[in-house]
């Protein structure tokens, strides 16, 4: 029996390593799309009190763009790619070949482009999980919202809220070489999924 809220250091390390490879894949994909070097930090794998999660991205009032994907399969969960508003505009300008500073509001095409980025990053990320665990995880079509970080994070926290007051988040920060873009990628396994993933890696 794996206690998801009380993982051993080895189990946390294993998750961090998979997160690292996943994020590496995602960063490479993003870098190829926008043709810039992308740096990433070592993923945080941490059990955090639910009410502090919005602080990871600048507080509940910070305006962010969130791309949300549901993960299906034996180890379901949620993926959320969060970009501060400024970064989202910068990324869209880069993708659309417009001078930086052009975008001040997201139109339909911009949203579509950002959702596609979320899609590609998630696919690259989940591939790493499959390679380690042989558990296939399939992302849903993405959905996008631009709003307060607190309100957007609500969506995933509510699901975890049913289980307890703490959330295990696997979080990576991406930074583009010219500091124009920073983003946060969250994988939040549903209650029960973490145990399946850990078994899949064989560090029970």
């Amino acid at each position: 029996m794996i206690d998801e809220l009380n993982l051993s250091p080895i189990q946390l390390d294993a998750l961090r390593e998979i997160g690292n490879v996943g994020a590496g894949n995602s960063a490479t994909a993003l870098s190829q799309i926008i043709n810039k070097r992308i740096d990433m930090n070592v993923p945080k794998v941490a059990l955090v009190p639910i009410e502090t999660v919005p602080d990871l991205v600048g507080g509940p009032d910070t305006i962010v763009v969130g791309v949300f994907l549901r993960v299906y399969g034996r180890a379901p969960g949620n993926i959320l790619f969060l970009l501060p508003q400024k970064s989202a505009f910068y990324l869209v300008d880069t993708l659309m070949g417009r001078p930086h500073g052009t975008t001040t509001k997201l139109d339909f095409m911009d949203e579509s482009a950002l959702m596609e980025i979320g899609n590609i990053l998630s696919g690259a990320y989940l591939n790493a999980f499959f390679n380690f665990t042989h558990i296939s995880m399939l992302p849903s079509i993405p959905a996008l919202a631009m709003d307060m970080a607190g309100a957007i994070l609500n969506v995933i926290l509510v699901q975890l809220g049913q289980m307890g007051d703490q959330a295990l988040v696997i979080e990576t920060e991406f930074l583009a070489e010219d500091d124009g873009i920073n983003g946060h990628f969250f994988l939040v396994p549903d209650p029960g999924s973490l145990a399946i993933l850990i078994k899949g890696v064989g560090v029970e």
Partner: protein, 154 residues
């Protein structure tokens, strides 16, 4: 008394918060100017598996706040309620139950207020956008702010 205190998720204080599908519920006694603000995430604590924070659920959080404001000197018969929040942030065509939790939150809160005999005098719920709320204890005004739909007093 009319101070601004930030409200964390699953917590209640007089103050404000960034709400998505959550609901911010204010109870206010206009005569004594005593009130409270509760931020709930989920309708029903029966679905919970291991929680120890009653403020997270409508069914356990509301009685808790009611007891507290009465203990501080509010009169139950004078208390009025205002609610805001309960949005669905991401539009999915095949939204699961949990994605529609905002609507269930709003419905449950209204039912519980009715059962407790507290008048609901204003609400701003639903939609697909976040809200920040703040109760002014000097006059009971409940301020609801959004990022691109302006700000209103209810």
């Amino acid at each position: 008394m009319a101070s601004l205190i930030r409200v964390g998720m699953a917590d209640y204080k007089v103050g404000r918060a960034g709400l998505g599908s959550c609901i911010g519920i204010s109870l206010y006694d206009p005569q004594t100017k005593i009130g409270g603000l509760l931020h709930i995430m989920l309708p029903d604590s029966n679905q919970a598996r291991a929680s120890d924070n009653p403020a997270k659920f409508a069914d356990t959080g509301l009685p808790l706040m009611l007891n507290d404001v009465i203990a501080m000197g509010a009169s139950k018969s004078r208390l009025v309620a205002k609610i805001a929040g309960g949005a669905q942030m991401f539009a999915f065509s095949n939204a699961t139950d949990i994605m529609r939790v905002g609507t269930r939150n709003a419905d449950t809160v209204k039912k519980i207020l009715q059962r407790m005999g507290i008048r609901l005098i204003a609400e701003d719920t639903g939609g697909n956008y976040g809200r920040t709320v703040q109760i002014d204890l000097s006059n009971g005004v409940y301020k609801v702010k959004t990022i691109d739909r302006g700000e209103k007093d209810i």
